[in-house]
């Protein structure tokens, strides 16, 4: 009952964020990078959340920031899920040499520490937000390949797959029509939970100042405000809004993710004796 309420509230919050990101130009009076007032103005009629140290409108930055923040979260998760699903299904279905090759490659790549690598890659490709989110997706897919593969391994032995093979269905048809729909719930759950993780990771990377500081996203907004004394001067309207925005979307995605997982993963289901 209350689990359902939480899920629907989270979905509503997620939709609200997406709408704000899509309609950013309609909602904001100024461009996020334009200097429209004197620095460090308090919230007022012209600037609903005041201005930052450069005189840029904080409200506009906040709304436009949704675009970039959501973009790298979802891009990275989409790519990561796509890679892990397609490779996982193919090697799980065919097995044999390809499976052996990919599995051994995963064994070798698994222990490589992802987070420090990501920090370096971010410094490497600094202005390219899209490149970085794609790299996050590729690095994040390694673990997923294993999970999907093990699911497909058992699916490939089931009667309906055997039957489809017996009536001469081509391999691609079996993989896309019979196996994919059966791993889809798992894939969806993985998509939601990894978009939450990637989003937080992206915000974290920009918070430690690892990417181009001219990009307007919530991480850089928090970083700028925190390092230029937004807190010490008591300018809460500069520091709090981007943080609250991140917390909101991250909570919504996490709640949706766990609801999915509880629903589709029988091992985590609640069984009370």
């Amino acid at each position: 009952m209350s689990r359902k309420i939480i899920l629907w509230v989270s979905v509503a919050v997620l939709c609200a964020y997406i709408v704000v990101a899509l309609c950013a130009p309609l909602l904001t009076p100024y461009s996020p990078t334009e200097i429209t007032g004197s620095p460090l103005q308090s919230p007022g009629d012209n600037h609903p959340l005041g201005t930052n140290d450069l005189g840029q409108d904080i409200f506009s930055q906040l709304v436009y920031g949704a675009r970039i923040t959501l973009l790298y979260g979802f891009c990275a998760a989409l790519l990561s899920v796509f890679i892990s699903t397609s490779i996982g299904i193919v090697i799980g279905y065919y097995g044999g040499f390809a499976d052996e090759l990919v599995s051994r490659a995963i064994d070798i790549f698994m222990p490589i520490p992802v987070f420090p690598l990501l920090i370096v890659l971010t410094a490497f490709f600094s202005p390219g937000i899209l490149t970085i989110s794609l790299l996050m997706g590729i690095l994040g897919s390694i673990h997923g390949i294993r999970i999907i593969r093990s699911q497909v391994l058992s699916l490939a032995q089931t009667n309906f797959v055997e039957g489809a093979r017996a009536i001469g269905a081509p391999d691609f048809y079996i993989m896309s029509r019979h196996i994919l729909p059966n791993v889809m719930p798992l894939v969806m759950a993985k998509f939601v939970s990894s978009s939450q993780r990637m989003l937080v990771m992206g915000v974290g990377l920009s918070f430690i100042g690892m990417w181009d500081t001219t990009t307007v996203d919530w991480g850089t907004m928090i970083q700028k405000s925190y390092t230029s004394g937004g807190m010490a001067l008591g300018l809460w309207w500069w520091l709090l809004p981007p943080g609250i925005a991140v917390v909101g979307i991250s909570l919504a995605l996490a709640m949706i993710g766990y609801s999915f997982e509880e629903k589709f993963n029988p091992r985590v289901g609640v069984n009370r004796i």
Binding site: I112, P116, I119, V120, V200, I222, L239, V247, N271, R272
Partner: protein, 327 residues
């Protein structure tokens, strides 16, 4: 038990992983735009004499072809020479050891407390899963985990250090260290806030794993048997269910210990704690390549070792896992 053949195979893969990781990071770091001179030294002065720049490149072998540098670097690594830091002009290894010990001041208490709290809460929550208490605790734990670590840190600093003034704003010691030297109570006083935060964060991860593990154990036959014998619920929970549900915790704990080094880069950044995390971001900003490579080697070794230890430990503890027999 573990078969020797399997162990040998795992060690070979670990060696390959180490090689790939070191090679990858070496080339990535060396092809990165900007270097120590352009990114750091030139920000301190307006101009550097040409001879100085040339001498710097020569001294650190940066004027050699990249492949030659790589061969030299790798053979040095194998002999245990991790090179000299550009910025600190000390051996990388001793620098890392020093910063690591500062990180451990935070990490050791936080990890131990976090694992204990997370495991106990997770076990209780999983045992009573579906109940009101479980539902509330579960949502609180997810919420704590979903909020980025650095945001918790900023909020904690703002509330407890800035407004309430209970704790210092940042750093690891007070300014009077200049006269009186480092005092242990002072450092501990500075460590309370970051340690508390990290404890919470580690506990949530353990809680989640433990709860799921507990739920899957509850349905097993031996729990029904224990109940049929007339044991009290408490005895069943702490003796029978917990012992069996602990297995995933062992795996996650070894990984936590490995990930620990990088994990607290956010907390260290917000609190300006002079540990490995802060060292990494500083080194990257200054393009201090030998130092960065050293940190990477350390991370790789830690995470490879964690995987090996997790495998071996879980097969020793649980005889049902017979490593290498199923292949």
């Amino acid at each position: 038990m573990i078969s020797g053949n399997y162990l040998l195979k795992r060690i070979c893969y670990s060696g390959a992983a180490f090689f790939v990781s070191v090679t990858l990071t070496f080339f990535l770091l060396h092809m990165m735009p900007g270097d120590y001179i352009t990114n750091y030294l030139l920000s301190l002065t307006n101009a550097l004499p040409k001879e100085t720049v040339a001498q710097f490149y020569h001294q650190f072998g940066l004027d050699l072809p990249l492949t030659e540098q790589y061969v030299l670097y790798f053979s040095n690594i194998l002999q245990g020479h991790w090179g000299y830091s550009y910025a600190y002009s000390v051996p990388v290894f001793s620098l890392i050891v020093e910063k690591l010990s500062w990180s451990l001041v935070l990490l050791l208490p936080a990890t131990i407390l976090g694992i204990l709290i997370g495991t106990v809460l997770g076990a209780r929550s999983g045992w009573k899963s579906g109940g009101k208490k479980d539902f509330a605790l579960f949502n609180v734990m997810i919420a704590i985990r979903a909020i980025p670590e650095f945001w918790w840190a900023i909020m904690a600093v703002m509330v407890f250090a800035f407004y309430l003034k209970w704790f210092p704003l940042w750093g690891y010691t007070s300014i009077n260290v200049l006269y009186s030297g480092i005092s242990v109570p002072d450092v501990l006083y500075h460590a309370i806030l970051p340690v508390t935060l990290m404890t919470f964060f580690i506990a949530t991860g353990n809680y989640y794993v433990m709860r799921n593990s507990m739920i899957s154990v509850i349905g097993e036959d031996y729990i029904t048997t224990a109940r049929a014998k007339g044991l009290s619920e408490r005895e069943i929970l702490w003796r029978h269910a917990l012992a069996n549900a602990l297995l995933p915790i062992i795996t996650i704990t070894t990984f936590q210990i490995a990930a620990i080094i990088m994990g607290n880069v956010f907390v260290e950044t917000v609190f300006s704690w002079p540990g490995i995390g802060l060292l990494t971001t500083d080194a990257l900003r200054m393009r201090d390549l030998p130092l960065l490579e050293g940190i990477f080697i350390l991370d790789t070794i830690m995470s490879i070792a964690a995987m090996l230890v997790a495998d071996v430990l879980s097969s020793i503890i649980d005889p049902r896992i017979r490593m290498g027999k199923d292949e």
